[in-house]
Amino acid sequence: MTADAITSEQATRPPRQNRPDRRRVLSPAGRKRAAGLLLLLPALIALTMFFVLPLVSIVVDSVTDPEPGLSNYAQLFTDGYTLRVLGRTLVVALVVTAAGVLLAYPYTYMMTLAGPTTRAVMVTVVLVPFWTSMLARNFAWMVLMQDGGVVQGALGLVGLGGTRLLGTTFAVTVSMTQVLLPFMVLPMYSVMQQIDRRLLLAGQSLGASRLSSFRKVYFPLSLPGVVAGASLVFVLALGFYVTPALLGSPQNALIAQVISVRTRELLDFGGGGAMGVFMLIVTLAVLAASRRLTGLGSAARVGQMGAGQAVAGQAVAGRNER
């Protein structure tokens, strides 16, 4: 009876009585787990050193510098600009996310339909800006958008000449959308390419129109990719510093610039830390709310994954930005 239950793996194991110190020798499964832990170790050490510890230090500073208490947090609501700037930052991030979804969804959909060569070209087109330096991209936008520049000239043809672009939130939003597009396209593509297109045909064979089979079959299946891309882009957009500094203006500052003034000019590490922590809480709240709104089981799971990636991604992007 027990012999039936023995798996081939266990069968190959030497008999137990021949192994006097079996407590000290790991079973194959245990060995696998130990190897897994070992492989995780570098990432865990790096994450603790470069993410968890600094984050703890920021939180501690925000409640102890200059004096213990919540005065740094109270000040956020009374200084007359933090809330305004935070609101603007959230709006810009949401607009960038929405514009990104609208641009990326059809593009990615076409990518899944295209042949291998066209697809390779389309992937390259998305990735090229990803490979160029952050500063080069922003300076290019600066030249395009300045007074008398190409974009203003084009607007002049349709009777909107003299519209100021550089130094406005509009310029910042356009540039951020372009910079963040790869973060939207790639997660969407990884989900969309796995969707079995025969499901659409099946839907049509059961009498659905092309539109409604897309709406009821394809779109819900692609939603996890949309949620993942959107969360990623939203979180990254919240922390942008270089783009608003170059293309925006201090009047239209976003939260990262205000935090920079706090820490670099005022040496107020506590106050800057409080802004950062407050920002983090608001971000998590917005992500949680958006997950609840989209409400799909699988979408939520991928969204969760996306949020995790987003936090890590923000740390990386933050470094690139600087």
């Binding site: 790991l26 130990a34 070992l38 170790l41 050490i45 200084d79 007359g80 600009y81 305004r84 700037v85 600066m142 300045q146 007074d147 008398g148 550089l166 130094g167 500094a245 170059l246 203006s249 201090p250 009047q251 239209n252 500052a253 610039q257 205000v258 003034v261 820490t263 670099r264 000019e265 005022l266 040496l267 107020d268 590490f269 470094r319 600087r322």
Partner: protein
Amino acid sequence: MTDATAHGWRGDPEIAAISAKKGTNMRYKRRLPATFAAGALLLAVAACGGASGGTAAGGKSLTWASTGGQFQEDEKKALQQPFTKQTGTAFVNVNPAEPAQVKTMVAAGRTTWDLANMSWIYAGAYCGKLFEKLDDPSLDRSKFPPGTTHDCFVPTYRYANVFGYNADDYPIEPPSKIEDFFDTKRYPGKRIVQDYVKNGLLEAALVADGVPLDKIYPLDVDRAFRKLDTIKDSLIFAPSYGAVQQMLVDHQASMVMTVTARLIATANSGANLKPVWDFTTTDIGVLVIPKGSAHKQLAQQALAFVTAPAQAKAYAQLTGVAPARTDIDVNSIPYTPMQKLFNAFLPDRGRLLEQDKKWWIANTDALVQRWTRWKVS
């Protein structure tokens, strides 16, 4: 930039530690502790690297933090190299000189900078806390203009916040007095200013509003901001010196109030800039010693040395700034015509006002907050 450098010099020990780990041929069950050991070794090496960062082994050496770019190159040539020649002191140059980094270094108890070119505001506000008091007798404070010295700083050079305009934009009747900066009807066009509250704009607003020079300090901040409100729509707040230069060359702005060196650079890069000598605020550049510097005495000797006539004149000639010591004749410096054009310390430059060090040290923090609030609202 500093991140990249840090990785650069931390890279080698890391690779060494990793290859050492690869070389060990241990049995599997011992590998976990070995990895920990290698990790600990790696951290220790990185920490040591951080502690000794910048100091050359043996010999005397000073770490000099500054702006980077051409300005720091000029400092090397005019100030550091003569000191090396005389005393054998080597210099390690780092940038940018961020006050936030001084605060971090002092908090960590590891000050690696000996001299830093940064605003005197910080040395004044955190004198004795983040910055060393200057007590070397070689630093004779009577040699400097009144009101420009402090327990924690002496000036190494003087500059001004100059009002300039793009001559292409006002061909018929160019602006000639400080009131014109605030008159957007007769003189339309954007005005670009540094995004920093001590950029000379508040003083200029009060003078243009009719306050006599001897009544400027203490600043009537409310009145100054009321005056600034009248031109707020025409103001561009430049996030960096580079942006000032770029926007003036590209005709994005018609008037400017910025520091001497930046106007010279902008004019040299093709903008048709002219200064207006009616009312100008002047200020000083300083080299300060971060608290806990291991070479405080040597740094003070270097400080006295760089303000001496030979070095100060060479520095002025390279950068276009003016020497700090009053016993040096500005007219004897062979400036280029462009440097002369924007130099506020030559004869016939209208009314000059040295920005009040005590007042600004006491009020900058509150004003930065107010400036931010005013800008974004």
